[in-house]
Amino acid sequence: MCWAAVLLSFLLGQNPNEMDYLLRKIPDATFKTSDSSAMHISSWYSKKPVLLTLAYGRCPGVCNPYLLQIRDQISLLGSEKQFQVVVLSFDAEDQPKQLWRLAGFNENSPPPANWTFGVLEEDTRASLLTSLGLKTQMVGGLYEHNTVLALIGEDGSILQWIEGLPGTAQWDRLFKELTSEFVPVYSTLNNTVWTSCFQYDPASGTWRMSWGLLMILGPALITFFIIIILQSITRNDRTKNNSSILIQNQL
C-alpha cells in the first residue's frame, strides 16, 4: 500500500491536494532529541526555513530509501547552512539516534549540524500529523504510512508540500523556494494544458512562450475577419444604394 501510494504520486509528479496544506500553519509540536529532553519545532523554523519530514525507526519500507534520497538531493544543493532538515518520528518507542540509520548516518559518521532527528511527544503528535496530511495505520505491529516533505516558513506555515518521493521538478521548485530564487512559472495540475501561455521545462527551469499567449489576440483577429466577411457579403447592397449615399441629417 505504502509503496503503491508513493509510486502513484511519483508517476503523477504532482500533489493533487497540495492546496489543502499550503500556507496553513502547523502546530508548534514538541520532540525529544538525543541531546535535549524537549524542544519546539519553532525553535528551528523561527531561525531559518525547515525541511520537515516524518518517519519511524523500525520501518521496513519506504522511510529508509526516502530519507536517503532527501540526503542525496540536499548534498547536491550545497547551501546547507541556510536551512534545517528536521526528521521526526511518530513512533513513541523510537530513540532519536535510531533514526540516524534511516538517512545513512551512524556513530562514525554522525549527521551534520543542519540535520535534526527527534521523536515527537505524545501530546502534540496527532495534531502535527493531521496538519501535514500524514496518515498512519497500525498493521501487525508496524505502521503503514504515506510520506510527506514540507517546507516550513518562519511563521510556521507550510510553503511547499510534497507527498511521496519528490520528482525532479518538485525538488527544483523546493530549492528555488529555499534559496529565495524568483520562480516566474509553476507547473500546475496538468503540465500539458493546451491553452498554456507558457511551456515550463522543470528540468532546466526555463520557460518559453506557447500558443496560449496567441489566444489573447484571438478575439481581435476574429473580429477583423468578421468585418472583412461582412463587408464582402454586403457588397451588393452598397452598389444598389450608391446614389442615395449622401446622408441627410434628419434633425
Binding site: V193, C197, P219, T223, T234, R238, L251
Partner: protein
C-alpha cells in the same frame, strides 16, 4: 419616424431605468453594510456586489446600444430583430443571473476572475447558471452588434465608415461622426464579446472535464480583462456617438462634421482601446514584460484622442451658443466633464508606480463610478430625456429639471468623493467590513449612503416623470 423604432426604444429605456433603480438599491445596501448600519453578512455582500456590478455594466451597455439603434434608424433601415432578440436575451440573461447569485449564491464579483467562480459559488449549480447567463447575454448582444455593423456596411465600405477619406482628402461619401464613432465602438464591442464567448467556452470545458483539465490562469485573466475593460470603455463611446449627433442641435449649432482630427482620433481609439486593458495585469509577474509597457503607454494614450476631441467639441459648441439648457443638454455637458475627471483618476491609477499604492483600494471604484455614474449614465439619461422631450406628451417642467439635476450631481459627486477619500486612505475595495487600521472607511461609507440616497431620489423622480410622459406612447 417609424413607430416601431420609437416604441421599442421606449421599452428599452423604461426597462433600463427600472433595473437601474434596483441596482442602485443593491449598491446602497452594500454601502450600508460597510457603514455598519445594516448587517447582511459577507456572503450577501458579495452576492449584492456581483449582481450590482453585472446589472450596471449590462444595463448601461444596452442603453448605449439602444441609443445607437435608434439614431441609426433615422439614417437607414435597421433590421428590427437584432434589437428584439437582444431584448429577449437581456431579460432572460438577467433572470438567470439573479437566480445564480441570489438563489445558488454565486458571488465571484462582476468579472468573475478565474478560478474564483469555482470557489465563490454557493451551490455547484451556481457557476453553471452564472456562465449560462453570461452566454445568453453575450450571444444576444453579439448578434445585435453584428446586425448594426451590417447596417452600416450596407452603406459604406470599411474604410469609408472609418472615415479614412476624411483624413486623406480623397472623394467619398460624407460620414457623420455618429457613423464613425458607432462603427469604431461596435467593432470593439464585437471583439470584447467574442472574448467573453471564448472565456465562457473555456470555463465550460473545465467544468465538463471536472478535475482533469485546468485552464491557464494567465490566459483567463487576459481574456477576462479584454472583455471587462473593453466593454466598459466601448459602452461609453456608444453614448458619445449619440452625443455627437444630438448635442450641437441642442445648442442651435450646425451638425458636427467629421474633420480630419476627429477621424484620426477615433481610428486611434479603435486600436488603443484593444491594448489598454493590459494595465489590469500589472501585478501579474508572469505576464510578458513587453505587454506591461504596452499597457502603460496605451493607458496614457487611451483617453487622449477621444476625450480631448470631445471635450474640445463640446466646449466650443456651448461657447457663444444660444443653448436652451434642458435636462438633456445639462446631462450631456456635465457628463463629459465628469468623464474627464474620472479619466484623470483612471490614468493616475494606471501609472505603474501609483498602482503599487492604489491597486485594489477604493480608488478603483472611485474612478469608474465617476465616469459611469456621472458620465456614461448621464449620456444615456440625456438621450432618454431628449427622447421624452421629443416624443413624450409634454416637455419636462423647468422646476423638475432643476431638482432632478441637482439631486443627481450633488448625490453623485458626494458618493464618489467618499470613494476617492477611501482610496487615498488605503481603504480596500471589495470588503464588507473595515478593520481598525482603516476604520475611516466606516464614516466614509456613511457619508456615501447619504449622498447615494440623494441620487436614488433623483432617479426615482426621473423615472416617474419619464414614465408619466412617455408610457402612453408605448400603448398608443
Amino acid at each position: 419616424m417609424k413607430t416601431f423604432d420609437k416604441k421599442f426604444t421606449l421599452l428599452w429605456l423604461i426597462t433600463i431605468l427600472i433595473v437601474f433603480l434596483v441596482a442602485i438599491a443593491f449598491g446602497i445596501t452594500m454601502r450600508m453594510e460597510q457603514a455598519e448600519m445594516v448587517d447582511v453578512g459577507p456572503l450577501n455582500f458579495y452576492i449584492l456586489m456581483t449582481s450590482h456590478g453585472l446589472l450596471m455594466a449590462g444595463v448601461w451597455f444596452v442603453a448605449g446600444m439602444a441609443g445607437i439603434q435608434y439614431i441609426l434608424s433615422r439614417y437607414f433601415e435597421v433590421p428590427r430583430w437584432g434589437s428584439v432578440v437582444a431584448y429577449a436575451c437581456t431579460l432572460a440573461g438577467v433572470v438567470v443571473l439573479l437566480i445564480s447569485t441570489f438563489l445558488t449564491k454565486f458571488h465571484a464579483g462582476w468579472y468573475f476572475l478565474y478560478p474564483l467562480p469555482f470557489y465563490a459559488k454557493g451551490a455547484d449549480s451556481g457557476p453553471v447558471l452564472f456562465l449560462i447567463a453570461i452566454a445568453i447575454l453575450g450571444a444576444g448582444w453579439l448578434l445585435w452588434s453584428l446586425v448594426l455593423l451590417v447596417t452600416i456596411l450596407r452603406k459604406y465600405t470599411v474604410t469609408q465608415a472609418l472615415a479614412w477619406h476624411h483624413i486623406t482628402g480623397r472623394p467619398g461619401p460624407a460620414v457623420s461622426p455618429f457613423i464613425l464613432i458607432s462603427f469604431v465602438s461596435l467593432i470593439g464591442v464585437t471583439a470584447c464579446l467574442l472574448a467573453a464567448v471564448v472565456l465562457v467556452i473555456l470555463y465550460f470545458i473545465e467544468l465538463a472535464r471536472s478535475g482533469t483539465m485546468s485552464n491557464d490562469p494567465l490566459l483567463m485573466k487576459n481574456l477576462t480583462f479584454f472583455f471587462g475593460h473593453t466593454l466598459v470603455n466601448e459602452m461609453l463611446y456608444l453614448g458619445l456617438a449619440v452625443l455627437y449627433e444630438l448635442f450641437p442641435k441642442m445648442a442651435g449649432k450646425p451638425a458636427y462634421k467629421t474633420s480630419w482630427y476627429v477621424a484620426i482620433s477615433w481610428n486611434a481609439t479603435l486600436l488603443i482601446v484593444l491594448f489598454a486593458y493590459f494595465h489590469h495585469l500589472y501585478m501579474d509577474f508572469a505576464q510578458p514584460v513587453a505587454f506591461q509597457f504596452i499597457g502603460q503607454v496605451m493607458s496614457w494614450f487611451a483617453p487622449l484622442p477621444a476625450a480631448c476631441v470631445t471635450i474640445f467639441s463640446v466646449l466650443t459648441t456651448v461657447y457663444r451658443s444660444n443653448m436652451k439648457w434642458s435636462l438633456a443638454s445639462l446631462l450631456y455637458f456635465f457628463g463629459v466633464m465628469f468623464w474627464a475627471v474620472g479619466g484623470v483618476g483612471a490614468i493616475l491609477d494606471a501609472v505603474i508606480a501609483n498602482n503599487l499604492v492604489l491597486h485594489n483600494t477604493q480608488w478603483v471604484p472611485a474612478h469608474f463610478h465617476t465616469y459611469n455614474l456621472l458620465g456614461n449614465v448621464f449620456f444615456s439619461l440625456a438621450f432618454a430625456s431628449w427622447f421624452a422631450d421629443e416624443y413624450g406628451s409634454e416637455k419636462m417642467a423647468p422646476s423638475m429639471v432643476k431638482v432632478i439635476f441637482s439631486l443627481l450631481v450633488i448625490g453623485g459627486t458626494g458618493f464618489v468623493i467618499a470613494f476617492y477619500l477611501g482610496g487615498a486612505l488605503s481603504v480596500p475595495r471589495r470588503v464588507d467590513m473595515y478593520s481598525e487600521t482603516v476604520d475611516e472607511g466606516i464614516s466614509l461609507a456613511k457619508m456615501a449612503v447619504v449622498f447615494a440616497s440623494l441620487y436614488l431620489v433623483g432617479m426615482i423622480m426621473y423615472t416617474v416623470d419619464f414614465t408619466k410622459r412617455c408610457a402612453g406612447q408605448l400603448f398608443s
